[in-house]
């Protein structure tokens, strides 16, 4: 196998940055659609970790790839449900800003 300069930790750093960007989106953006996109980014950061660990630690086993496929599927379903929720929130509240949807409180 050809010697590569790219090591495991490079991938992990990229994934961490991607996760941080996603988390920022989830925590800081007021638009519900943007929050959903942040969630997608966090999921993909996890996917990168899966693939990287598979490739660098134990390429003979397929769990890493399989997990990624499952996560993509779940992410698709989550996006569909999430967007449906956003649509309903908009119909009910007339807005998609998450900090104004706060009627369920103690």
């Amino acid at each position: 196998m050809m010697q590569s300069y790219l090591q495991l930790h490079h991938y992990l750093i990229v994934a961490a940055l991607l996760f941080a960007v996603g988390a920022f989106g989830v925590l800081a953006r007021r638009n519900a659609v943007a929050v959903l996109m942040g969630v997608e980014l966090m999921l993909n950061a996890a996917n990168i970790n899966f693939v990287a660990f598979w490739r660098y630690i134990d390429p003979a086993r397929l769990e890493g790839q399989v997990f990624v496929l499952i996560v993509i599927t779940v992410a698709a379903a989550e996006a569909a449900v999430g967007l449906a929720l956003v649509l309903n929130i908009y119909r009910t509240f007339g807005t998609v800003e998450v900090d104004r949807v706060n009627t369920l409180k103690g």
């Binding site: 134990d58 998450v98 949807v101 009627t103 409180k105």
Partner: protein, 660 residues
Amino acid sequence: MPVIWPIWMIPALPLASFLIIAALFLRPERARFAPYVLVAALVAALALSLQAALGLWHYPALAPLEQRATWLAIHPDSAAGARLTLEVGTLLDPLSALMLVVVSLVSLLVQIYSIGYMRGDRGYGRYFAFMSLFSFSMLGLVVANNFLEIYVFWELVGLCSYLLIGYYYQTASAANAAKKAFIVTRFGDVGFLLGIIALSHAGATFNFMQLQRLIETGGLTPFFFGQSVFVTVVALLIFSGAVGKSAQFPLHVWLPDAMEGPTPVSALIHAATMVAAGVYLVARAFFVFHASGSALVVVACIGAFTAFLAATIAVTQSDIKRVLAYSTISQLGYMMLALGAGSVAAGMFHLTTHAFFKALLFLCAGSVIHSVGTNDMWEMGGLGRAMKWTAATAAIGALALSGVWPLSGFYSKDYVLASVATSSGLASALGVGGREVLLGLGLVVVFLTAFYMTRLWAVIFTGKPRGGRDQQGRVHAHESPWVMLLPLVVLATLAVFAGLLNHGSTGMLLNRFMGVGEAPHGEAQWLVWVSLGLALTGIATSWAIYGNGRNGVAAVTSAPALAIYRFVQRKWWMDDFYHGVVARGVLAASRIFAWVDRHVVNGFVDGAAWLMGVGGRWLRQAETGQLQLYVLVLLTAVAAAGFVLAYLGIYVGPALATGP
């Protein structure tokens, strides 16, 4: 061989009657059939009791006839066999045979009387249902062969008397009297239960005959003290139960109030069931008392003092049933005195004759009350003309109770006194002088008994009707129906002739039946004349004061005499003492407990709820509805948990792959 029918059938008959009445005849429109069920059951029970007694009489070798069945075995798997076997069974010996006959006979007569007395009452069916249960309980108590069984029936008797004393539960005084009877006897029952537990623990059985054998051979394994002290303690504990049930000092206060029940109930309670249970218990457990001289002395002293106390109070009461109630307490004192003197035969003989004449007197009182409509003897008077049968039978009862020859009371009372006078046990424990004191008390009571019975009879039946109410009452005063008179006549006959049970002419039949040798008279022949003389003096004195409508006491004005009279009339301040000191003490204590309950115990419960409320109000601040805040908390917590785990070097996750 004679056939003795199974003894368990005797109590089972009234039980069946109870169930039948409860199932079919409670409703007022069908209640008129109820008494016949019970009377039929009691006739059969009496027949069975008689044939059991006759069987024992003809074949004394049969006794004791015991039937046992295991109810429950405790620790049956242990290597040494069962630790303790609870059993049910019946024991037929002369004592229980005699008691069976007395109880079923008196119950039967009282029930026949009740048919007339209770006619038209709203609770006719209920009355006979309770009466059936009462007879069942008492007969069951009599035939019990072990302490546990006797205790169960003991409490059943208490329950039934509660139900029947409080029969007119709409009136406050009846309800209170029922509660009083139940609670006061409960004080004694606690001791009784402790005694049973201690004794059965030491003997590993409840069975009378096994325990008797163990005590006689010294085979008990007491868990405290030596055998002799242990037996004394147990005997006194058992006696405390008898003190409660048989209304002995200081627990006698419930019995006079128990007259709140219908009069036939009083007759039954006073003659054959409730109070007889205590005397019977001491007689039944006599093997325990016999093993302890000091316990017997306590029994004798309590008995003698109770007899004296109650007799003095009876002299001053004006309610017919109260006079009779105190008279019962006094006579029960005699029975206890006889038992304490060591003579079961004398105690049971007096119990038998007393059952007859006291039931007779109560039923006469019921007949009078039924006719006049008041309990106060000073509102009666001159009833002898209108109620000849009642007056005559009451006179027989009064003379028998006073101990006049040749009526039954004379023989039994004389036997009691003679057994005291010749008791070697009392002489050795108290000295001859101490024994003479007890005997002296007994003799004073003979005088007092004759005095108050004559007073009662003279005031009610002789002289002129008194007071405004009586003019009306006299017009209405009428003889009772035959169904009430028949039991009176039968009981009067028994009251006259029951003395023959233990008379020289029948060869001391009862003594031979009970397996006691000869009468104790020998050295106490003079006693017969003294007690008869005292009785006649009492009658004469009383007649001089109260005869023919006089009230000689009303003329007494000397201050000390009046003070004594008032002291006795207030029942020696006993009720006031219980009310003022004991009841108030209990109330004060219960107030403290109530405060503790309300503020400390409740405080914990309320405090827990309060804590939850405050905590909830505080925590709800966190529930802002801001979705992104939740996510922030979530991520922060996960990150923090990750850092902590990493810092501590703890790995959470699947087992690490160790290379390809």
